[in-house]
Every structure is written in C-alpha cells, then in structure tokens.
C-alpha cells in the first residue's frame, strides 16, 4: 500500500522516483519494425528508470502461428507484412503472457539515430512503419478497449530518435502517468543512457563485423553482405535466408553493423572523396539524392560498401512484399553492386510464409557462383581498390610504422 501513497502528488512537492513500484512493473514491447534497430535503447532507458531488464518483455519472433493465435481478426489494414504482423505481436503481449504485463509500450519511431545522420537529408522511418502502432491499436480498440479489459496501460509515444534534444520531452509526456514518480530530469538522464547503451551495442557488433572482414582479408575468403531493413533480422520476416547461405560456409555481414572505423572508411571511400563525388564516407548523394529515409539510406550506403570491399563477393537483398520504400531503390542498388562485378541476388516479395523451395534453389545457385567466381571477383575488385588495406595485418604494421615515424619527426 505504501507505494501508492507515495505516488500521490500531495506526498511530495515534485515527483520522486518510486523505485520499489517500478521494480515490479512489467513492460511489454512488441518486437517489430524499428524496435529491431533500437532494442538496446529501450533496455537502457527502462533500466535507467529502475525497471529491471528481465521485466522488459519483448514479444516473440513473428510467425504465422502467432498471427493465427493472437492476432486473428484484429488486422485493420492491408499492407506489407512487417506492419501487418503487428496484431499478432500485440495479441501475444496481451493474451499470451504467463505473467501479465502492466504496460504495452509500442513506440512510434518517427526518425532514427542512423550512423549516416548528418551526411544525408534526413533519417526518417518509413511512413507505414512509423504509423504502424496507430493501425494495430485500432484493431484492439475498435469495439472495446481490449487493453483496459486486460489491465494493461497502452503507451505509444512518437519518438524522434534523430533529434535527441526532444526525445526526453516526448517520452516524459507519454510515461509520466505510467512510471511512478517520473520526473523530466530523470527521463533526460534515462534517454542519455538509452543512446549510450544502443551505441555500445552497435559498436560491439561493428567490432565483430570487423573481425569477420579481417579474417576474410587474411584468408582471402569471400563473405556475403545482407542489404535489408533491420526487421528482416526477425526470423519470421526475413525467414533466415542468410542462415541458409551461411551453412554453405560463408560468413554473413549485415550492413547495419558494418565497421565504420576511420581507417577503413578512408580506405573504402578515399578515392571517391578525392574525385569529388562525395564529401564524406557517409555521403550517398552520388547515388541517392533523395536521402530522407534512414533505412533506405543505409541500404544504399551498404550497397556502395559492398561494391567496394573486395571480399564481399556477393550481396543479397531482402525485401518484403509491397515495400514501397524499397521499390524505387531496386534498380540503383542492383546497379551499384553489379557495376563492381560483385554478385547480386535479391529475394523480393517476402511475405508471411517462407518460400522454402525457391529459397533453396536460389541459395544453391548463389553458392555455386560464389564458389565459381569469388576468387576472380576478389581479384577484380582488389585491382581497383587503393593499397594499404587496413584489414590486412601488414597494412596495420605499415600504418603503425608510418605513425611512429610521424611521431618521431614531430
């Protein structure tokens, strides 16, 4: 009882964090759309507010079973599967939890803190993706308030992650009545923690990618780059197509987590910058002037990288059926990659079911040609890349020598 008294505004002049109450909250987050690229932000954020990580519950991977069991009849709109599957995720959190959640937290992520931000026109989310929660919610509120009936507070703030200055305001307004004793100041600190956590995770993943690349460079072995939206990592959306390819003995990189260390960026994009095509390694104006959408921008950037790194001998593209954001980029992405002799295969029209038969044939074909041509592709690409690759050990040592010399002369 005591904690409820403490929450009363009359109990204190300003809100005081009620950590005891918060530690007992269960927050459910639907694991869909751009949550796939902001997961760690939310874990860091709620963690900083005193909600333990293990009480932040994500829904499961997307699946047809999930949709049938929990989402049936609640879809309000015909659109791409990654948005449409949301009803199943909501349903799973509302009806399918052993221990009931108190809050269903489904952020409308308006913009993203992309690593390309600042070099591109904008970092917005897809219009359907950002508005997804409004539609999914309609299916749960249309006739009766299903959330309230299940004792759940539905919280769906619009969050502009590309504008960190206003994020605390957005989240504070949405959560002040839900998180006991929440203050604006505290929210601001938690937002900082969210960004820090996300950045830490991204840095870690990039480091792992770099290890893979270094291995490829050292062994002169090919690898595959996946160009897709973050939610294609969801086994029910991307159908783990890249895993099938991995089984043939190719390491898999995702462009979202490509290493962006200075040395590597300079090596990859130096010639383009020198020739005046771009102003920075993260500038994509040379291939995609209307760089408004964060995920699209990253795909285009990833294509440029794949075209330039010799050991990426194949890029695969995953696209969901009816993806209006991907549609205009089909030709540019293909051209960017194929101009460099890199193999390019795209899996379009992904929907709720995995087209297992066609995936198998494609994967075998890809593997056949990778086997047949990787060596040649690596050679061809190496012939047009600058020397001194930082992925190679001798380059490292050379760089170290050069640095040492520079230091000595200074």
């Amino acid at each position: 009882m005591a904690k409820w008294f403490a929450r009363k505004p009359s109990a204190a002049p300003g809100p005081r964090p009620d950590l005891e109450a918060r530690a007992k909250l269960r927050i459910g987050i639907p694991k869909l759309l751009n949550v796939w690229t902001t997961h760690q932000f939310w874990l860091g954020f709620f963690g900083a507010l005193g909600v333990p990580n293990n009480r932040v519950v994500f829904s499961g991977d997307t699946s047809e079973e999930q949709a049938r069991e929990f989402g049936r009849g609640r879809g309000t709109v015909d659109c791409c599967y990654p948005v449409k599957c949301g009803a199943g995720h909501y349903g799973e959190l509302v009806f399918g939890q052993k221990r009931k959640i108190d809050i269903l937290f489904s952020p409308m992520i308006y913009s993203l803190s992309s690593f390309l931000q600042g070099h591109v026109a904008d970092s917005l989310a897809c219009p359907r993706v950002m508005a997804g929660p409004e539609n999914i919610k309609a299916g749960f509120l249309k006739e009766r308030d299903v959330f309230a009936e299940n004792g759940i507070r539905y919280v769906s703030p619009l969050v502009s992650l590309a504008e960190p200055a206003i994020v605390p305001k957005q989240l504070y307004e949405a959560l002040k009545d839900v998180i006991p004793g929440l203050s604006y100041k505290e929210t601001r600190a938690a937002v900082d923690e969210g960004y820090r956590t996300l950045k830490g995770f991204n840095t870690e993943m990039r480091a792992r990618s770099r290890e893979i690349l270094e291995w490829c460079a050292r062994e002169n072995r090919p690898c595959v780059m996946v160009l897709a939206r973050p939610y294609h990592m969801d086994a029910g959306i991307g159908h783990e197509i890249e895993v099938d390819l991995q089984a043939y003995g190719y390491p898999i990189l995702w462009m979202q987590y490509f290493p962006i260390d200075d040395d590597l960026m300079q090596w990859i994009f130096g010639p383009d910058m020198a020739a005046g095509h771009i102003k920075s390694p993260f500038d994509i104006d040379d291939v995609w002037p209307s760089s408004y959408s964060a995920n699209t921008n990253e795909i285009l950037w990833g294509a440029k990288v794949a075209a330039r790194v010799p050991w990426i001998t194949c890029a695969i593209r995953l696209t969901s059926y009816e993806c209006g954001m991907d549609q205009p980029t089909f030709t540019p992405v293909q051209q960017i990659i194929e101009r460099s002799h890199t193999l390019f295969f795209s899996f379009q029209e992904l929907d709720s079911t995995k087209p297992a038969g066609s995936v198998k044939i494609r994967v075998e074909t890809i593997s056949f040609y990778m086997q047949q041509s990787s060596e040649r592709i690596i050679e061809q690409k190496q012939a047009v890349t600058p020397p001194g690759c930082p992925l190679l050990p001798q380059a490292e040592s050379k760089l170290a020598t050069a640095k040492a010399e520079l230091a000595a002369s200074a």
């Binding site: 309000t76 508005a131 409004e134 205009p328 030709t331």
Partner: protein, 508 residues
C-alpha cells in the same frame, strides 16, 4: 595513388539549365487539375518563361509507367511517369529526340517526406533512361522552401515572385473549382456551368499573365498582400455566374473528396474521373482544395518547431511567427472566397483537424496527408459538411493505407460516418466505383432525410418552396449563397433559408 572511380554507379544529374537556354526551352509541368495548371502556366509566362502543362494522364500512361519504372510503384507514380515518358516519346517522333532534350525541361515538386512521393524522381530517371532520354533535363522543387534561388545552371529562378504567383494561382484555381462544384449539380441548363468556368479561367489566365512586377523579394510580398488586383478580377468573373440559373431544391448527397494529394486533385483517368462520375450519379461533390494541403504543410512546419518549445529558447517565437504567416495565408484564401460570395467551401482550421484526429492518428506521422485524412473525415461528419467521405487511396500508397487502418477505429466510434475508401489502381475501375456507389446509396438516403427533416421543421413543401423561389429570382442564381444551416444537403439548407426569409418578411 589515385584509384579511378569512374566504374561506379552514379545517380542521374541533369545537365545545367543556363540563363541563355531558358528562352529556348519550354517548361513542362503537371499533376494538378486543369484550372490550376492553366493559371500556373500564366505565372510562368508572366516571369518570361515558356511553359505548358502536360496533358492529363491516361490509362495508357499508367501502363507505360508500370513498364518503365521499377516494379511495385504506387499508381500516381505510374501515371505521372508514364505521362511524361509518353509525351517525350510522341514529341521525339515529331521533332526528334535531340530536339526534345534541348527544347523541353520538366519541373516537378518533390516532397520532403519519406514516402515515395519524395522519391518520384527515381521513377522519372529510370523512365528517361529506359526510353533513351537520359540527357533530358528534369528539376525538383522543394515544396517546403519558397525561396530556393536559381536551380542548377541559373536558368530557372525559384524566387518570391514565382512562389507567390504559384500560391496565388493555386488559391484562385481552388475558389473557381469550389464555386463550380457547388453550381453544376444544380444548373438548369446543362453545360452552362462548364462554359462559364472556361471563360472565367481564360480571363484569370490573362490576369495572372499580366501581373505587375514588384521586385524580387519584399516588394513582391508586400504587393501580393496588399493589392486588390486579384480580388477585383475574381469579383469580375463572379458576375458571369449570375447568368447561371440553378435549381437547388434537389436533395443531393454531398460527397467530400479526400485522399492522396494527386488523386484528390486531378480530374481524369488517374482517379476514374470520380468527380464527374459522382455528379452523374446525382451527387454534389465537395472537392479538395489545394489550399488545404498548403495550409497543412505550414502546420507541419509549425509542429516541428513546437517540438522544441521548452527545449530551445527561440522556439516559441518561431512558432508564433510561422502561425502568423499561416493566418495571412488563410486570410488571403478567404479574401478570394469572399470575392466569390463565400460560396466556395471554407478551409477547416488545421488545429481543429489535429485535435479531432488525435485519438486515432498522431499529428507528427508524416507522409501524404498524415492525420489530416482522419481529421477531415471527422470534421466533415461532425459539422455536417457532407454526407459521405470518399477517400481516394492509390493502390499500395504507403501513408494512405495507414490512415485507412486508423479510420477503422474512427468508424468504431462513429458508426454513422459514411466512409468510402476507394482503392485506385488505375484499372479495375468497376470494383472501385461500385464500392463507392454502395456508400453513395446510403448517402442519398441521408440527403433525403435531411430534406424531409427540413420540410418538417420549416413546414415548407417542395411546392411552396418553389413558389417562394419564384418570387426571389436572385436565389435561383448560381451567385446566391445558401448559408449552411446545419444540414449537409444544400436543398435542406435552402428550405431553412427560405423559411427564415419568409419569417423575416412576415415580421416586417
């Protein structure tokens, strides 16, 4: 050591359009309804450019567009892409491809949004490539920026006179369209309204063509805001409407058009000629003024600033400043409406729309018309401005499918709201129109209910109403405004109006 980078793919960049080129070229543009396009042509010509609107897109253009650009486009992209491509092709056949690339440039608005509208140019580029016209010059204008200076090469100067001329022309076209749609369904002599509108637009074309030059920036702004040059001209053309006899005692359902910008604006194959079709089915169409879209764009900017209130010090002042620009914009529109006897529909207040939509659709969600689609539907319904909403939604349009989904929630709360989301694919017309007809049948019932209710309240029968009207010839003119007396049906409002007048006369 420099490594050659020429082998990499690069995006299309148009060859510069220089000042010396500009006299030789003709600017192509399109995508609006014919009244707006004609007046825009005048604005271009007024500033010394040669310009011409592209022909209205057809089903052929749709098929061409689908063939030429990447698979899976939304249908406005297919229509407009195919439209440009087919025009260039037919001109190439006439005068040769080389001539075409020197003689024409294409100018279009690019949105700042993340939706495909902001990526239209990609489709155009691909189409140009595929018809072998990579050299053709195409320029995108950012509709969020009124003053963009000279576009690449210095030939086309996006300055205040061009921007203000464009805005004023669009507003004038809106009020003409508004007046026309309130008149034609009730005209006694078929075809008269169309004829008058044609004359009006011709006259206004001259007015915009002869707009005096008043400087590059502030002079132009001050003049546009203070002059009665346009209002006077509008009053002049309004007189022509006096000649049109109307019979407004027909209880027709009023159908509000909303939807994706291109589809709600054009009149032709791209939206199945829905305006005309609805009129033929016995409806009064409440069109979608371009002004409301422009007003929304301003509101969107205001919202971006509002986010920073309490975060940035100067934000509050910026919000206030922009809101006053918005006021001036609304005032300008209303001046033009007033010149037309206030018969064209008013602009809904953007903040009212936002308030109404809030429980269903967040105001910041961008792409297309965002929360406006929900807001307009509710505003129309609650204020009895129309009997039904016909939302024109392009097949696979990203933002529109979202607002339709959110409308599910609205309908749950307001089961009385007649809402017809029409998916427009360009083909499969029968399905779409029969859907619309379905809801229209309900709307017709409502219109009759309105009329019957008005008869009961006023005690007027159609016969007595006719007699009263016979005594008041001015009320049978298109230039007479029937005030909105709380009913959606014009006929019902007319009965209330007649009853009031009779009561006043009796009292006097």
């Amino acid at each position: 050591m420099a490594v050659a980078t020429d082998h990499h793919y690069r995006a299309y960049t148009p060859a510069p359009l220089t000042k010396s080129d500009i006299d030789e070229v003709e600017i192509l543009f399109g995508g609006l309804h014919w009244r707006a396009e004609r007046l825009l042509q005048a604005v271009f010509e007024n500033l010394g450019y040669n310009a011409r609107p592209l022909p209205v897109a057809t089903k052929d253009d749709l098929l061409t567009g689908r063939e030429l650009a990447d698979i899976g486009q939304c249908c406005p992209t297919s229509f407009t892409t195919g439209n440009l491509a087919n025009f260039l092709r037919s001109e190439s056949e006439r005068i040769g491809a080389e001539q075409v690339k020197d003689r024409y440039v294409y100018v279009t608005a690019g949105s700042c949004g993340a939706c495909r509208f902001g990526q239209y140019h990609q489709s155009y580029e691909l189409a140009l490539k595929n018809i072998g016209m990579e050299q053709f010059r195409m320029f995108l204008i950012d509709q969020g920026q009124p003053d963009q200076g000279a576009t690449a090469g210095g030939g086309l100067n996006i300055n205040m006179p061009l921007t203000l001329g464009t805005v004023w022309a669009l507003l004038a076209a809106d009020v003409v369209q508004g007046l026309e749609y309130r008149t034609r369904p009730y005209e006694v002599n078929a075809g008269q309204t169309d004829e008058v509108v044609r004359q009006c637009v011709d006259e206004l074309y001259e007015v915009f063509r002869n707009r005096p030059a008043k400087g590059e920036k502030w002079g132009s702004i001050v003049w546009h805001l203070s002059t009665n040059y346009f209002v006077k001209a509008l009053r002049e053309v309004f007189r022509k409407f006096e000649a049109i006899e109307v019979d407004r005692l027909q209880p027709k359902p009023v159908v509000k058009i909303t939807g994706e910008f291109y589809l709600q604006t054009v009149e032709g194959d791209p939206n199945y000629n829905i305006h005309r079709w609805l009129e033929a089915e016995g409806a009064e169409v409440y069109p979608a003024p371009i002004a409301v879209w422009l007003d929304y764009l301003i509101r969107f900017q205001v919202q971006s600033l509002e986010d920073y209130v309490g975060v940035d010090k100067g934000a509050r002042a910026k919000v206030a400043a922009l809101k006053s620009v918005q006021k001036v914009f609304g005032w300008t529109y209303n001046r033009m409406r007033a010149a037309f006897g206030n018969i064209p529909h008013e602009m809904p207040d953007q903040y009212e729309l936002r308030r109404l939509a809030a429980p269903y659709f967040h105001h910041k969600l961008s792409g297309g018309e965002g929360d406006m689609l929900v807001g307009k539907a509710l505003w129309t319904h609650l204020n009895k401005k129309a009997h039904m909403i016909c939302e024109l939604s392009p097949y696979s349009c990203m933002p529109n499918t979202m607002s339709i989904g959110a409308m599910a929630g609205v309908i749950g709360q307001y089961p009385d709201l007649l809402y017809a989301p029409i998916e427009v694919k360009g083909d499969a017309e029968v399905h779409a129109l029969s859907r619309c007809q379905m809801i229209l049948t309900e709307a017709k019932k409502r219109a009759i209910q309105d009329y019957v209710a008005a008869m009961e309240t006023t005690g007027l029968s159609p016969e007595t109403a006719k007699e009263l009207l016979a005594e008041r010839p001015e009320m049978r003119r298109a230039s007479y405004r029937v005030p909105h007396r709380g009913a959606a049906a014009t006929a019902a409002n007319l009965l209330y109006d007649l009853a009031d007048m009779t009561a006043e006369r009796n009292a006097a």
